[in-house]
Symmetry: C2
Subunit: 337 residues, 2 copies
């Protein structure tokens, strides 16, 4: 306390001095490494809490692990993403890891710059949530740092792991459920693939088509693709059609919400004549005025699963894993009477 070397900040050296041991001993306790007696640990621990010592991340990251993983979020507006993040953080805090979150703006340039930034900060690994970046670029990064990609189908990759909702199975399940009520003219509302090159939309169409065929409803397959831009107007012609099907299964709640509200205004009897099912189980779908049945993809679980993969990868695994997470259909009055 009152010897010559007293400086401002309390460092590992201060602790060592206070506890009367070597710097390396303290470091060992900190990392609970091999070769430290209970007695030593006790001395050091009490010095640490007495002095309120906190290891400097900066110094730490120059040599060893930071115990911190970077999370890159494609954007913040989509309410599905926070759920994934909270799943990630839950799992991380259990493993005593910290996180550093960065938010892109659905822009590739920004995304790359943010990933670079995480490399600069020496994160132990990164979790990319629904990135816009394509496989080749992702692979480039994945070679430099343990990487897991959530919500972005790319099951062929050998450099990073992926976690996704099981879109195909989800769609099949929805189709089966709707069919169980005796409906046969079941159509899908999807988005124009050219506007969004991700695989996500495609997977859902595959599931729809596959199950329709499995149920012998091949002749009723019909996919209405809307441009992603002008949702509200784009859906009008669908509502105005004279020949309505018995059910619409939508690629997203956005479509579903517009459909039920415009449909109700037009006098549709929902669900008796026409059932509508959305996708994503967004907060708006749950509003009593909307009450749109929707598929919940268990974002928290996707996040948790991705985190577990990343941690095992940080601990040395090198082969790529690809996980599909099942969700469940939330029944509401747009589907169930």
């Amino acid at each position: 306390m009152d010897d010559g070397t007293t400086s401002q900040r309390v460092t590992i050296r201060t602790v060592a001095q206070d506890a009367g041991v070597s710097v390396s001993a303290v470091s060992k306790v900190l990392r609970n490494a091999y070769g430290v007696s209970d007695e030593l640990r006790k001395k050091v621990d009490s010095s640490i809490s007495r002095l309120g010592y906190r290891p400097s991340m900066a110094a730490r990251s120059m040599r060893g692990r930071t115990q911190t993983v970077g999370i890159l979020l494609v954007e913040m507006e989509n309410p599905f993403l926070p759920v994934i993040v909270s799943g990630i953080m839950n799992e991380l805090s259990q493993a005593n890891y910290k996180s550093m979150l960065a938010v892109g703006r659905a822009d590739m340039m920004i995304e790359t710059s943010l990933i670079d930034s995480m490399l600069d900060f020496r994160m132990d690994g990164i979790i990319l949530v629904a990135p816009r970046l394509k496989g080749a670029l992702l692979s480039k990064y994945a070679k430099q740092i343990p990487t897991v990609v959530v919500g972005h189908h790319e099951p062929g990759s050998t450099d990073f792991d992926t976690v996704n909702g099981n879109d195909v199975e989800a769609m099949r399940q929805i189709v089966r459920r709707v069919h169980r009520d005796g409906r046969r003219r079941i159509e899908m509302v999807s988005i124009d693939r050219s506007s969004n090159d991700s695989d996500v939309s495609y997977q859902r169409e595959v599931g729809y088509t596959a199950e329709m065929m499995a149920l012998g409803l091949t002749e009723h397959i019909r996919i209405n693709r809307l441009s992603e831009q002008h949702k509200r107007e784009a859906i009008a012609p669908l509502v105005a059609r004279p020949d309505q099907p018995e059910a619409y299964i939508c690629w997203s709640d956005l479509h579903g919400i517009d459909l039920v509200s415009q449909g109700r205004a037009k006098g549709w009897r929902i669900p008796s004549e026409i059932a509508v099912v959305g996708f994503d189980d967004s907060p708006a779908a749950a509003l009593p005025q909307i009450d749109l049945a929707s598929y919940n993809h268990d974002g928290a679980r996707q996040g948790a699963e991705g985190t577990r993969l990343l941690l095992s990868r940080i601990h040395g695994r090198t082969d790529a894993r690809h996980v599909l997470v099942d969700g469940k259909l939330i029944e509401r009055s747009s589907l169930t009477a």
Copy 2:
């Protein structure tokens, strides 16, 4: 390239070697410090881009600035918060700063641990968005690191700056607008203050009361306080009242949404008999089925303003500033015919 010292990572040393200058010279260029000729700079810059060198944040933060500020978000579910964050990030990127985002879970323990974490990472400053932490604790941190608090009234503080929506003025404006249509029995729906000790609810009540008095409507002042927990049921008695006022001004869209939907179901004529105004302009309020008038508090501007304050504080300012940001009332069919 092929001399003995070639290791994996490209460091400042690699660059120096490649450019045929000293390490310190490179560092000077990097920081554009005094005493470097144009010629030298050119040599170094070209080596940097040829080698794809990126300075290590870890090493950098051990001595100088990180050029990174920490953002602490109270939680992620509230859709108002991402807007603030995007305002912050916009402003930061213009000033060539990076950000590190951490998300609490509306829990004080977690918040303190996250702030500690930002100190460990040697952020140049922190922006706390709607923190749960109280003034004394905030002051403690503010003494260690430049701090700005957004969305958390605490105008008395001398240790940190604050940015807030101008709640009093907002409420006065809403009351005036509603009164302009000839309505006099204007009530407020607020939350039980004991459940939320923040100042936010109080400010809005103040504004409501003040304007009602200014308009000579003192006798009609009535504040209905609901417990924060069971919103949907808590609002039922309000809807069931036999003596309805001519307008409800709500503390939050959550109340407003329930009010318009349950009210419409009950046969209220909105807005001719009863007007409803929410607060926050959440996405759900804008849904055509809801169409709830609401006050938009310009979160992006609050974020930007906070960022500017932080940067000036990082650059040496020490006196505390307290900024109020005005927003605007978004008129929708729950208010305007």
